[in-house]
Symmetry: D2
Subunit: 314 residues, 4 copies
């Protein structure tokens, strides 16, 4: 960078991924190559190589994860909740078809079973073929089970008290899309009942940008209607263009109570190896969320319900 | 939001601010209105009303701050450093022509003098006229002094040991722009010498996106070549499109050592009133930066120098 | 241009006008300045200075005319029809609030009265103030009359056989916008009845791009349901981004029958002065439309009617 | 279209081709699919499926031709010149690797040999494989010869007086690209010498938009420095976003002198079959160019020479 002359926009590049995030906001990413464009039963799925982020997975025109920063999203979605649990053995992942959430889950030596339930078989198949770095062999782990099914129905049919950890790794609630009934109070009640007494759920929960907090705050309120302990934090995933929230609902254990040392000890004992985003210091920092988030959580407002659903603005 | 139908892109809107942040990345913001477009001696200056962020200040095609989230930037740039100092009396702001940094500085009752040195008189004048919320009366505070001058020359000419706090609130080092000599080791040495023994400098220091850390890490390395204590944290200012770094160089005091209670006590004693972003919990969280930032800081690399400057990619 | 080095995209410019012309097509114009953005009773109106086209008038996010190429649109909309008429005395302009159509009409010495009926008073007022080049004094011509009224109602209320020429210079039929009932068979019947026996109507009639002919062809079919002679031609107005059609409906006279010499003679006799686009050679060329347009006109299809209206794709 | 509700921008689509045509102008085309992205020795080559235009060929980020409107470009580039010649037997195509120009050339029964000389073998190979509609079997015609070579060198090495028609179907003179020495006076002199006494050259010659005429006018001036008869016309190819010029240089014969009937007679006799763009009426219309083009041609200015080349603005 030092001494470089300004190179300017790459006008010989023809390929841009434009993600409209609201009627008035969009982000433009130049792409080296669109590798796969396909229509599944549920959504448009793409895999593309971007200049800034390496390979990217896009669903219905929205960035799901990118090669260079997916570690932040997947470590953040999985480890704070799982480390808070003293010995997570059975884990269910709702969504997460690309396999990176499963990859992080299976890093925990305590895990006996990681079951991934994604509604869209094509996402799993395409990811396995074209995004091998995402699952990194997780699909072949003997402890893994990958199902193509409606995640809500799967949980509703499961025995109560089955899972120590449930991770909800789904697309945004686009109207007409496959996800919106996985953001409601009724869904979280099903989740709560399938958790063991020490169980926690970890959820991707929309942007935490201070200018666009409505969806995230509503998810937090809905979780609080069901779980006694609810925590959140923000991750900074540049390919998402906005800070993103992870929400944790817990039946008993509070992530905030873990010390730096205890987190680092558990990481070591679980055999998580060298992570890129998460460790004791990270854990300690993230749950101290900025004041504007705490203010937003303190406000009253609607709870998301099956007959009062929430959709993304676009 | 619940129950809304998808509104889609606002195609009746004609006005977009496109900010190219690299040859391959850009962000599109629809604007309700471009209020002011003017050419100063140093840069193109604009004030516009955006749908997402309210009024915005743009310099040379880059977002500087927006009505709805400037509080995060300005509180973050000012308070963590100033609260770390037990009794900041004299404060110099390099840049900061829009007056919001000065506004936050003057909230501290301890301050006897806040001097703002911006090279571009037009930015001050236009901001005073069109962005009154930014300075909020600070320009008329008896403790304030606003100068039009080269900030580096101003400091070089100042007596050593003059300021308790120096805040560097400048545009990015665009090649040919007014800022690039305010990012070098030589400049930080001038800063250090003008600080009192307990002094700290707080600096906007580029994006902390994990995919684009080179500039931020280089600023951190350069600060470490001059200051015994160097800390950083990220703020999430949605109008910047990327997480943004604040770096603090300190001659002695370490921000990390302040407890939540001590921060909140000082906030109260200083008369800061009700803030939007900053308090004891925020302070405690932000300095525990994610592991990938700590990893980046641990790497060796170039230091920015007058004859080895650093420029933005675009 | 010779010897220039590639300058690249102007990344210091922040201001872009993006015109979406379909769900899948858009055009981006960098703007030096947005001069006026206002909401009238009927539409959003803007006047902006573009780098490529000089001052531009935008209505509801769509380019209406630009300083550097409006002469093509306005000469093309007015003169082929008016020159075809041997002695046009009374002319009505439906729409055309910016005054440039009136300017061209009044150049014809034969004209005793030019009446302009635009539904949106603000367009007239703003254009008079900010686009003086457009009307070029026409609003003060003693032969001119400018009314704020519904053009269809105005014509319906006019005496039959009043006008030698009627010019329909309106915005595209955006759903919910003010124009769509001025594209129907019923409207053209009203027009026909208000024309004198030698009368002609000249109409902006949508793009003639071979890939997007549906609207233009439908307007042509609708005109043919009412007028014995119907002709068309394309103009190349770069600020429109697409070739644009002018359709002429005539009760008797055929524009194609005029020789180059006769056109040039009438131009001289009428005192049109030095035009930029139109003369005898232009007249001769334009009516020989490419084969794909003739093929499209030959196809059967719907006619636009009040209860079967046509709207733009976006 | 009638009765449709406004569908809005397709926000579920992620794939946009943005073509910057100047530092301040660009066009956005949503793409159903990017089929091929490859780097040849000379340029980036892409084949993509657009919503508006079907399959498209892009070179170095610039639209070359699209499935739905390439007939206009290729018929316009080939037939007016070839029909003007009473019996074209030998034809050379400089560039034209996608094979559509060759396809049109070989439709003329009189042709004994059509030789296509493109510098970029990959364009030919990719087009043959992925754009079969472009060559439509022409590559397998016994009269065809396809060479990978520098077109200028090929002609310079050819015997004088060899070709009845030479067609220059090349990319724009991008600085650093393969084409700029095929726009100079010296090149046209080589062309002229290789033509038979009745020979003509047909050249794609830049946009004829009235706001951006410099390049086209310079090509016309340069041709006039070499050829006694020079004519031009504009075609409206929507995928090019701007009207585009075809220039014809002729050693003796003047295209304007052919009557509608004579053109149609020759079309029939040559066995051209049913064309989409070109016939006698089209021929008659196109050469009567609008007055602003004639005015631009009448102005004095530079001629393009090897040591005084011309480049596109971007």
């Amino acid at each position: 960078m030092p001494g470089n002359t300004t190179p300017g926009v790459d006008v010989r590049n023809s390929r841009w991924f434009i993600e409209f995030t609201s009627p008035h906001e969009a982000h433009m990413h130049a792409m080296e190559r669109f590798l796969i464009t396909s229509e599944s039963k549920f959504q448009t799925m793409e895999i593309a190589q971007s200049y800034a982020f390496g390979k990217c997975l896009l669903l219905d025109g929205k960035m799901q994860s990118s090669e260079r920063d997916e570690f932040i999203y997947h470590e953040g979605l999985v480890h704070p909740a799982m480390i808070t649990h003293p010995e997570p053995k059975r884990v269910a992942i709702i969504g997460g078809g690309e396999g990176a959430t499963l990859r992080e889950v299976l890093k925990h030596r305590t895990v006996k079973e990681g079951v991934q339930i994604d509604i869209d078989e094509d996402v799993m198949k395409m990811s396995e073929k074209y995004l091998p770095e995402w699952n990194a062999g997780a699909f072949k782990d003997k402890r893994a089970r990958c199902l193509t099914a409606d995640g809500r129905k799967f949980l509703a049919d499961a025995k109560k008290g089955t899972y120590d950890i449930i991770i909800v790794d789904i697309t945004e609630p686009v109207e007409g899309g496959p996800s919106y009934l996985l953001f409601t109070r009724e869904f979280y009640e099903i989740v709560s009942e399938r958790l063991t007494p020490n169980g926690l759920v970890s959820i991707q929960s929309g942007t935490t940008a201070c200018t666009d907090l409505a969806m995230h705050a509503m998810i937090m309120r809905t979780l609080k209607a069901v779980f006694p302990v609810v925590r959140s934090f923000s991750i900074e995933v540049a390919s998402f263009d906005l800070p993103w929230g992870i929400a944790i609902g817990s039946k008993k254990l509070d992530p905030v109570k873990l010390s730096v040392g205890e987190v680092d000890k558990r990481i070591k004992k679980r055999g998580l190896g060298e992570l890129g985003y998460y460790d004791g210091i990270t854990h300690q920092g993230i749950f101290q969320v900025p004041k504007y988030l705490r203010n937003a959580y303190a406000k009253k407002g609607d709870v998301i319900e099956d007959n009062h659903p929430m959709f993304t603005a676009i």
